[in-house]
């Protein structure tokens, strides 16, 4: 499991440090993994996808769990957020920064 995303946007978005930990993003959360949302990043000013994620309830403090991954390239992923479930492409999930819960 990768803890930081390096294959795209590494220069515009360096690994985010929280204490000594690297920030984990929803697209790298393994299947079955639980986490709590830390923040939703805007990729552009007024990023419509980030806005929509917020409206769907992806807001700091909410618990998420990856319940399934797509059969091809593990994309998209199915995420449970409270009582609702959403399918997200990895690019969308990469906006959601997490803190893990043990």
């Amino acid at each position: 499991m990768r803890l930081s995303r390096t294959e795209d946007g590494a220069c515009e978005r360096p690994p985010h440090h929280r204490g000594t930990e690297l920030m984990l993003y929803l697209d790298t959360l393994p299947k079955g993994g639980h986490a709590v949302i830390e923040k939703v990043e805007q990729r552009a000013p007024l990023d419509p996808i980030a806005t929509r994620l917020g409206e769907l309830g992806f807001v700091p403090g909410e618990a998420v769990q990856v319940v399934a991954t797509g059969p091809m390239g593990k994309d998209p992923i199915a995420v449970r957020l409270g009582t609702s479930r959403f399918a997200l492409r990895r690019g969308e999930a990469a906006r959601v920064g997490l803190r893990t819960v043990s």
Partner: protein, 622 residues
């Protein structure tokens, strides 16, 4: 403006709108309230379905209700949500602002739906909250203090179960009372998410965290990386088996029923022009329309049931990666697959695609998926020109060519979609698809949905198809040939003349005048081209064995280059007026239809041109 003071006379029904998130049960509530008293159309200028209905409350109050498209927010991201926002704000071009909103929220998904409800609170319109799916919430062990929530929100809440008549009575009774006062907007700067959290913590007792265990268990199977795709394949296989196998006898039965009906009705009509108009124009046209119905209804029964059960979004999830190759999302798969049976139900099935750009691109490439009507033409030409021999010992050459025609069409469709979706990175193309809880499909909703599709197809598309058929009949029949003229009658008609004129356009792709003439009646339906070729070659089109007798004739009279060129033409050409008619109906834009026809004709001409000249070189004719 305050709707509470607006005059209520029996003559002007109360105008309300249903608003809510997707999957809140809004449509089944609408169906339950209005029954069959619904009008389904499109909003002016956009491909968004407009559903309006009428009903009367127990005390006799007449109500006109608009079922607004499902939305997650008034901060819209799609034309569907644009409509909902504009109507709610009262700034829609053609739609007046409703006097009151009925906000539908699902008790099983309060966290998501309450947030949208708080947005609706800001509008200054009276709102009644229909708290739906209370039965399901209770089964999950969810306890909601509706009275407390109602007082806190400042909006009346009525619990409803939209699956049966008794379940919507509380809402009907509430509608008999006077309109509530518009709720007080939230103070500025208050985070709606925090407010939702507070409401949930205060008014909802939720021992099992509202988890739908059944959906979790089903998803472990249906979304499994191995079992998921296998189950999907089985579902699709059974689905298309029924579309082909069940529809065929019905279509044959309807077809012969219409011809028997025609014979009986037209018996007293003397032979001649009137008889020909009624038989070959009107009845043949109506026959074309009605014959499509079984396929459309069976396909839609499946799609509606899969959608209602919650499986369709899962199929989209499993197929998303595959469709991303074409720049589309998983939602486009079923409409495109259906188009292999016939583009007409396929294009109608594109309604299930929420993203409007995806929907348009899917509609535009649907005619490239090889429909079953092309098979007679392919079979005839392959039989006449491709030698019957085996390749590598196991494959028949004829079968390989047929496979190649399908493959070329699919690859072209993917490329065309890629070009139309260019500039949109697949990563940035939002999927963000809600996977609702699984539920048993409601029979009443299925029946209403099927009924609406049937009426829509017969009334709106059917009329266009019949009129165009009559027009084509007239073109192919007039002027009548002079008495005792040699050659087929169609050669003297307007269509014949146009066919001859077309030849200078089509000569570079190797078409002779007989092909050009047969292309015109072939516009009515692709397979008609075979019988019209038979007419042009004067061997009697009505003959059952027309194709068998055409086959040796064509193989001696046409060059191989011409035959292959016609095959290439048929892969692309929008040779089907009915498809264009349903495209017009579904997109509401004649410009889109013209554009689609232009790009498909362009592709067809280019492909036929290349095929013709390459084959000429290869066969040594050039």
């Amino acid at each position: 403006m305050s709707a509470t003071t607006s005059p209520q006379t029996p003559a002007s029904p109360l105008h309300i709108a249903l608003v809510g998130n997707p999957n809140c049960g809004k449509t089944s509530l609408f169906n339950q309230l209005t029954g069959s008293r619904q009008k389904v159309a499109n909003y002016a200028g956009v491909t968004v379905e407009r559903k309006e209905g009428f009903f009367t409350t127990p005390n006799g109050r007449a109500i006109r209700v608009l079922d607004l498209p499902g939305a997650y927010s008034l901060d819209s991201t799609s034309p569907d949500e644009d409509v909902t926002r504009d109507v709610c704000l009262g700034c829609h071009r053609t739609e007046p602002r409703p006097e009151m909103l009925v906000a539908v929220i699902s008790a099983t998904n309060l966290r998501l739906h309450l947030r949208f409800l708080l947005e609706l609170k800001q509008l200054g319109l009276p709102v009644i909250v229909a708290l739906n799916m209370m039965d399901e919430a209770r089964r999950h062990g969810l306890q909601i203090d509706a009275a407390g929530l109602q007082a806190d929100l400042g909006m009346p809440i009525v619990p409803v179960v939209s699956l049966n008549r008794a379940g919507v009575m509380p809402l009907l009774q509430r509608l008999d009372l006077s309109l509530p006062a518009p709720p007080v907007p939230l103070p500025a700067g208050l985070d709606p998410h925090m407010e939702v959290r507070r409401l949930l913590a205060t008014y909802v007792v939720d021992p099992a965290a509202g988890t739908d265990r059944l959906t979790d268990r089903l998803d472990r199977v249906f979304l499994h990386p191995v079992w998921g795709p296998i189950i999907l394949l089985i579902v699709l296989f059974v689905m298309f088996q029924t579309v082909f196998a069940w529809a065929q006898p019905l279509m044959d039965g309807l077809g012969s029923g219409i011809s028997i009906f025609g014979e009986i009705v037209l018996k007293p009509v003397p032979g001649g022009v009137l008889h020909s108009l009624l038989a070959d124009g009107v009845l043949a046209g109506a026959g074309t329309v009605i014959v499509f119905l079984p396929q459309i209804l069976i396909l839609f029964l499946w799609i509606l049931a899969l959608e209602e059960s919650g499986y369709l979004p899962r199929a989209a999830f499993l197929l998303d990666r595959l469709m991303a190759l074409a720049g589309l999302s998983g939602r486009s798969f079923i409409p495109l697959l259906s188009s292999f049976a016939c583009a007409i139900p396929g294009i109608m099935a594109a309604r299930t695609i929420q993203n409007p750009r995806d929907r348009l691109v899917t509609i535009l490439i649907a005619p490239l998926m090889t429909c079953s009507a092309r098979l007679p033409v392919y079979t005839l030409l392959i039989g006449a020109f491709v030698p019957h021999r085996s390749v590598l010992g196991i494959f028949g050459l004829q079968g390989l060519v047929l496979f190649g025609l399908y493959a070329v069409a699919i690859v072209s469709g993917v490329i065309a979609a890629r070009i139309m979706t260019r500039g949109v990175k697949s990563e940035e193309h939002p999927l963000l698809l809600e996977l609702p809880s699984y539920r048993r499909p409601n029979l009443r909703s299925l029946a209403l949905g099927l009924w609406q599709r049937a009426v829509m197809f017969l009334s709106r598309v059917g009329t266009i198809i019949v009129s165009l058929n009559v027009l084509l009949w007239a073109l192919s029949s007039f002027p009548l040939p002079p008495a005792g003229a040699p050659g087929p009658a169609i050669d003297y008609s307007l269509a014949g003349r146009i066919g001859h004129l077309m030849q200078w356009v089509f000569a570079p792709i190797g078409f002779n005048w007989q092909i050009c003439v047969s292309l015109i009646p072939g516009l009515a339906a692709r397979e008609v081209a075979v019988s019209s070729l038979a007419t042009v070659y004067a061997i009697g089109a009505t003959d059952e064995g027309a194709a068998d007798r055409l086959l040796p004739l064509l193989s001696t009279q046409w060059s191989m280059a011409t035959a292959f060129s016609l095959l290439a033409w048929y892969v692309y050409a929008p040779q089907c007026i009915s498809t264009l008619a349903v495209m017009r109906r579904e997109t509401g834009s004649i410009k889109t239809v013209l554009w689609a026809a232009a790009y498909l004709f362009g592709l067809a001409y280019l492909a036929a041109f290349l095929t013709y000249h390459i084959t000429r070189v290869l066969t040594g004719a050039a």
